[in-house]
Amino acid sequence: MNRLPRWLAHHVAALRVVVVLTLALGLLYPLAMTGIAQAVFGRGADGSLVEKDGKVAGSELVGQSFTGTDGEPIKRYFQSRPSAAGDGYDPGATGAGNQGSESVVDVLPDPADPESGKLSLLTQVCARSKAVGELEQVSGARPYCTSDGVGAVLGVFREQGLSGRTTRVVSLNQACPATPFLAAYEGVAVECAKPGDDYSKALVVPVRGDAPAHPVVPADAVTASGSGLDPHISPAYADLQAPRVARERGLSLDRVEDVIKQNTTGRALGFLGEPGVNVLTLNLALDRES
């Protein structure tokens, strides 16, 4: 070693250290941890799997969709939150929607290709709120949402671009032939939006409307989680769904409320995080009852 020039010796040493670290930290450490975990914490280490009728039906940590093949909610099951993971609750494509709070204008689909276009976060929220409202037979109204469940957003053209007299107003998220949520704005009749038209010169004006600031449909029911696999819903959303599930299953509301309580995790140590209702274990418990 000592005959090598010092700069070269550094590289030889570096190569050997990389090999040693790879063996110690890259193989020995994780494999030893796996051995300990499997020996001592078998169930958790295996992913906290749950069974239905003797077969693995998922993990109690990972949320699932409770929709039919048509994508519609199955009414006898509590519904999970919206999910941005793949087609919904896909552990192979975890993640969030990643749209910001000012994502309010849709790219409307081309009538020839209904799959094209891109919904803004606002319209997704409005559409979910409307759907949940209909399913639970309550009002799905929200601020900044139209009654047909899209974002209530106007594109306002003014004489000098940002200022001056209003010359033209378009309801950006309502594709023709929809009736605009507002008949007139600043004395100008509101038009429906034509897909493909360029409204980028218009000033974007979201319209609050008169919906209550605290809508009936809870916040977690209309927003996707960070992972797309959120196993929980808020107790408020569970309570909203309870009457429907009780009706569909022929159980008393009290009984369903009891099962909700049994599947609710409170704040850890009484003050860490938020309470949540585990939808998978809740539905499994109800399946065992009826």
Binding site: W7, H10, H11, V12, A13, A14, R16, V17, V20, L21, T22, A24, G26, Y29, P30, M33, T34, I36, G44, A45, D46, G47, K55, V56, G58, L61, V62, Q64, T67, Y77, A85, P91, G92, T94, G95, A96, N98, Q99, G100, S101, E102, V104, L122, V125, R142, P143, Y144, H214, A219, T223, A224, S227, L229, D230, R267, A268, L272, G273, L280, N283
Partner: protein, 550 residues
């Protein structure tokens, strides 16, 4: 209310624990005897552990180790398909592999790919995990070298890189990883070598659960400032972070080593009061960020947030909004970059707070090792300015902060803003940069600014709406990470080399005292003002415009 209690709980625990951990690190990392097993390891690797290095050789050894680490990881990632435990994933494309190799070796761990769809168990364990440990240890080495420059009396040697590396890994990081890993597994984090398992769901559909050695990965990801998720969703994923209890622990794990290192500095300098003073500066900066973040998130001023009624988009039910904010501030202020919620869907100003946390230069408490040397740089600027203001000699621990020293400090401070603003300007000026934005307008600019800030500062936190897996972003981010990590390290080591030669001066009435309220205010002010001068214009066009004009 509960959010503040949780923050108070985690941060109190952190301050209590940083004392024994910091003292242990001071005792075990510097001086003392080599263990028999370490001696054997040095012999195998052809290292003379008792021969110290001047700053040039220290840097040379560090770069040799880092570049070989990049090469080894690059090879593993591109050849993954032909190796065992690949779970059927093919090798990465060369540009993605290069980006990923540099990303993990520089302690950034920005991921332009989704873990569950790209990397098998071998790549995670023997590739990314090894560099997680190694890159954190490299940061600790540089921190140790700078401390020695400040406390040694003459000579040219600033330590032996290999000894610092081996001790950082085997005496500090690995034991803590085993401890934290076992506790996390106990809390429900999975740890197995399974592949994908298809199950029939309760509603009659199918779901494919993905196994893996997550429990041994989490401490590496969190403690080392690494931050890259085993899965794409990182600590939002219930397998990585199953409960609010594990969430609190994960926040603690992110902050513990960088915070304890401040204590280590105080202990090694024989001046515990200095450690507390610097911790106070860090605490004030962190507190300001946390308060700003919570206020911005709770105000939910954005249109969508008002429609929803709360900032719940992209957050997990079990954590809630305040805990997501606490995690976000901790992950960006500590250079870790993990996430338990979608930062892209934070309120515009809340996202701006995370961006500001990185723009402070990763000092509150910053990355593992790198946080300490970044903080010392800020302290040196403060001492220099303070000295100019009151006409006292700028000295730190008896070492004069003269022209040579300040030149290195200033060069260090210029690297990050220059790179961030230049690359962001380049990206928004080219179609290849603009086409990857996930949102339009001011929010799109925020995404790009966030990306380069995160890459240059070795953070790895992401606003995931930006599609980084393009030739343009892979290559420019690779350059940003490499230069943003190693050029500042070179300046720090050069500074250490310059400081170590000096005989310390006696403390006199003419020495600026580095303690007390006025010094804390001065250092905190310097950190804030330097960051604001550098980044206010860019912040105004991004998150501020997004949040105020909305």
């Amino acid at each position: 209310m509960y959010g503040w209690l949780q923050a108070l709980f985690v941060l109190t625990l952190l301050v209590v624990l940083h004392v024994p951990v910091g003292d242990y690190m001071a005792r075990t990392l510097d001086g003392g005897r080599h263990l028999a097993i370490e001696r054997r390891l040095y012999r195998i690797c052809g290292i003379d552990p008792d021969r110290e290095q001047d700053w040039r050789h220290y840097l040379l050894a560090l770069m040799a180790f880092s570049v070989l680490g990049i090469a080894a990881l690059f090879a593993l990632l591109t050849l993954q398909g032909s190796l065992p435990w690949s779970l059927g994933h093919p090798g990465m494309s060369w540009e993605l592999a290069l980006h990923t190799a540099v990303s993990f070796t520089t302690n950034t761990s920005w991921q332009n790919y989704a873990g569950e769809a790209t990397t098998g168990h071998l790549a995670v364990m023997a590739g990314l995990g090894v560099q997680g440990f190694a890159s954190a240890a490299v940061g600790m080495c540089v921190g140790l070298a700078l401390i020695r420059g400040l406390i040694r009396r003459g000579g040219t040697e600033i330590g032996n890189f290999w000894v610092d590396l081996v001790r950082s890994v085997f005496r500090v990081l690995l034991p803590l990883a085993v401890l934290f890993g076992i506790v996390l597994i106990c809390m429900g984090v999975q740890q197995n070598l399974d592949g994908a398992q298809a199950v029939n769901t309760v509603a009659g559909g199918t779901q494919t659960l993905i196994g893996g050695p997550v429990g041994s990965w989490e401490p590496v990801k969190l403690m080392t400032g690494d931050g890259g998720g085993f899965f794409n969703a990182s600590s939002a994923h219930p397998f990585e972070n199953p409960s609010s209890l594990s969430d609190s622990l994960e926040i603690l794990i992110m902050l513990i080593v960088p915070t304890a290192f401040i204590r280590t500095f105080g202990r090694m300098a024989g001046n515990l009061r200095l450690g507390w003073t610097m911790l106070t500066v860090v605490g004030i900066l962190f507190g300001l960020l946390l308060i700003a973040g919570n206020l911005a998130q709770a105000a939910h001023t954005g249109t969508v947030a008002q429609a929803v009624g709360a900032q719940t988009e992209g957050t997990e039910t079990r954590f809630g909004i305040p805990a997501s904010t606490l995690f976000g501030v901790s992950a960006t202020a500590s250079a870790d970059g993990a996430l338990n919620a979608s930062y892209d869907s934070f309120s515009s100003l809340g996202g701006g707070v995370l961006l500001a946390a990185m723009m402070l230069g990763e000092i509150a408490p910053g990355g593992t090792g790198s946080g300490l040397y970044g903080l010392i740089m800020v302290v040196l600027v403060a001492i220099f300015l303070g000295g100019l203001m009151v006409g006292r000699t700028p000295e730190f621990l008896g070492k004069r902060i003269g022209f040579t020293e300040m030149r290195f400090v200033v060069l260090y401070s210029l690297v990050s803003p220059t790179l961030i603003l230049a690359f962001t300007g380049l990206a928004v000026g080219l179609p290849a940069g603009v086409s990857s934005m996930g949102n339009v307008g001011a929010h799109g600019l925020t995404e790009v600014l966030y990306a380069y800030t995160s890459n240059v500062n070795s953070n790895g936190s992401a606003m995931a709406g930006l599609n980084g897996n393009t030739m343009f972003y892979n290559l420019t981010m690779t350059a940003a990470m490499f230069i943003g990590r190693y050029l500042p390290i070179a300046f720090v080591l050069a500074l250490a080399g310059s400081l170590v030669r000096q005989q310390p001066q006696a403390v006199t009435a003419g020495t600026l005292r580095t303690q007390g309220v006025s010094f804390v205010a001065l250092a905190t002010g310097v950190a804030l003002i330097v960051a604001l001068l550098n980044f206010l214009p860019a912040l105004s066009l991004g998150p501020l415009a997004d949040g105020l004009l909305g």
